[in-house]
């Protein structure tokens, strides 16, 4: 800002063509974990990840933000979506100034192109200690969990809070479970308060924090002890990230995380819905 210039290494691009409609309880987090599992944590090293295709119309802005946020976990410089009706509705509520729409060139070159059928993606979990280490929820087995964290820049948005409330409503966390819910911003916190979600969280046995990075990087509020396991909606699960180097982090969506808090082990939200 001081000099008026900024150095930049121009990234090459990878294109992901998304088709189909995601299953119930599958959102941006599951899709991006699935993609990172497919290309690896350095699969897009210093590249731009572009998401296109008719499938994106099923993705809310919050889903798209989660996906763009986590492209970094594939080594990418950025993750971008074309502007569509969903984007325009979002911008119109927020933009104080005139905005411009930029599109990829018709003849843009891509280093790689992938096709992804969103309807085939199951709720997805990344096992310790890399975000690429993914399993579909159906292949998880019996993994007991000590703590669930729902929040962060990756999944602390309004829709994440709504889904969490939907699953927690009228239910209680498992015995011994620590459930920590952290709305990502003061505005999201206020929305959760007005909608009654905060009360739902607390009645279910959660603690609710003011917006903070907190446990995501082992900062405070939910630091893991030796041997403890957490399901977190955060972005990375490296060794020692959330506390003791011998603790374990499982990355998942708010839906899977909330269901896990009820069950005490990693489960499909459908299982909680159907009664455990």
């Amino acid at each position: 800002m001081v000099s008026g210039t900024c150095w930049m290494k121009v990234p090459s691009a990878i294109r992901f063509s998304l088709t189909g409609k995601p299953q119930k309880w599958v959102g941006g987090k599951d899709i991006i974990l699935y993609i990172i599992g497919m290309i690896g944590v350095d699969g897009a090293c210093y590249q731009s990840m572009e998401f296109i295709g008719e499938g994106i119309k099923h993705l809310s802005m919050d889903d798209r933000f989660t996906m763009a946020n986590m492209t970094v976990e594939a080594g990418a410089k950025n993750g971008i979506f074309p502007v569509d009706d969903v984007t325009v509705r979002y911008i119109k509520q927020r933009a104080a100034k005139e905005y411009a729409v930029y599109k990829a060139d018709e003849d843009a070159e891509y280093r790689n192109s992938y096709h992804i059928d969103l309807s085939a993606i199951r709720p997805t979990v990344a096992l310790p200690h890399l975000p690429e280490n993914i399993r579909a929820i159906d292949e998880i087995g019996d993994i007991r969990i000590d703590q669930v964290v729902i929040g962060s820049c990756t999944n602390g948005r309004t829709e994440d809070m709504r889904i969490t409330a939907q699953i927690l409503k009228g239910r209680k966390t498992a015995k011994g479970m620590r459930l920590i819910i952290i709305p990502a911003t003061q505005n999201i916190y206020l929305t959760a308060l007005k909608e009654g979600w905060i009360e739902t969280f607390i009645r279910a046995g959660a603690v609710v924090s003011t917006p903070t990075c907190g446990p995501c990087l082992g900062g405070h509020m939910g630091i893991l002890a030796k041997g403890e396991k957490t399901v977190a909606t955060t972005n990375r699960n490296f060794v020692g990230r959330m506390g003791h180097p011998e603790s374990e982090i499982y990355l998942a969506s708010p839906a899977v995380a909330a269901a896990t808090a009820i069950a005490g082990r990693i489960v499909n939200p459908e299982d909680v819905e159907g009664g455990l």
Binding site: V2, S3, W7, K9, P11, V41, D42, C45, Y46, V72, E73, G75, A76, K77, L130, L217, G218, G219, R236, F238, V239, G240, R241, P245
Partner: protein
């Protein structure tokens, strides 16, 4: 800029949480950070590392959190250059912006072992392995980036520029 030192070799995906664990981020003192550099993957690193030594690693070095403390800790520990197969994007920018030299070189990473003696010409991208009598060639960073690194990073370069006006 030719430098001689010992190689500390690591694998792929060395993340910023192991380069400098978050439990030590309550300090921004460079010396203090350097004491804990790499401690979760190599407990002996800070005791063994000497001024001028090198870190040699696989792909995606510096992945994870965008913490400039990571390249700062490495630099403060005395490391003169990180040589990797590839760097994660945020670390790549942070390293250059705080003035830590980096080189990408597949051949070097393939052949260098922990403890090898190296002599590196950072500005030309020439990596000599004295222990194994081999030479590897990395694509050197562009001149203006090298100037920024030599100036001690982006902020220092801008300060120098404005002061000289």
């Amino acid at each position: 800029m030719k430098i001689r030192g010992t190689a500390f070799k690591y694998g792929d995906n060395v993340d910023t949480d192991v380069i400098i664990p978050a439990r030590h981020l309550n300090s921004s003192d460079h010396e203090e950070l350097s004491k804990h550099c790499m401690e979760d993957i190599d407990k002996c690193f800070s005791d063994k590392v000497k001024e001028g030594d090198f870190i040699v690693a696989g792909s995606n070095f510096g992945c994870g959190s965008s913490r400039e403390h990571a390249p700062i800790a490495i630099k403060a520990a005395g490391i003169s250059c990180v040589i990797a197969y590839s760097f994660a994007r945020i670390f790549y920018r942070n390293a250059i912006n705080i003035g830590l030299p980096i080189l990408e070189c597949k051949e070097a990473v393939k052949n260098i072992d922990y403890g090898d003696e190296l002599a590196v010409d950072i500005s030309e991208g020439i990596i000599k392995n004295i222990t194994k009598s081999q030479t590897y060639y990395a694509c050197p960073l562009p001149r203006f980036i090298q100037e920024m690194i030599s100036a001690g990073g982006l902020v220092n370069r801008i300060k120098t520029k404005f002061n000289s006006k």
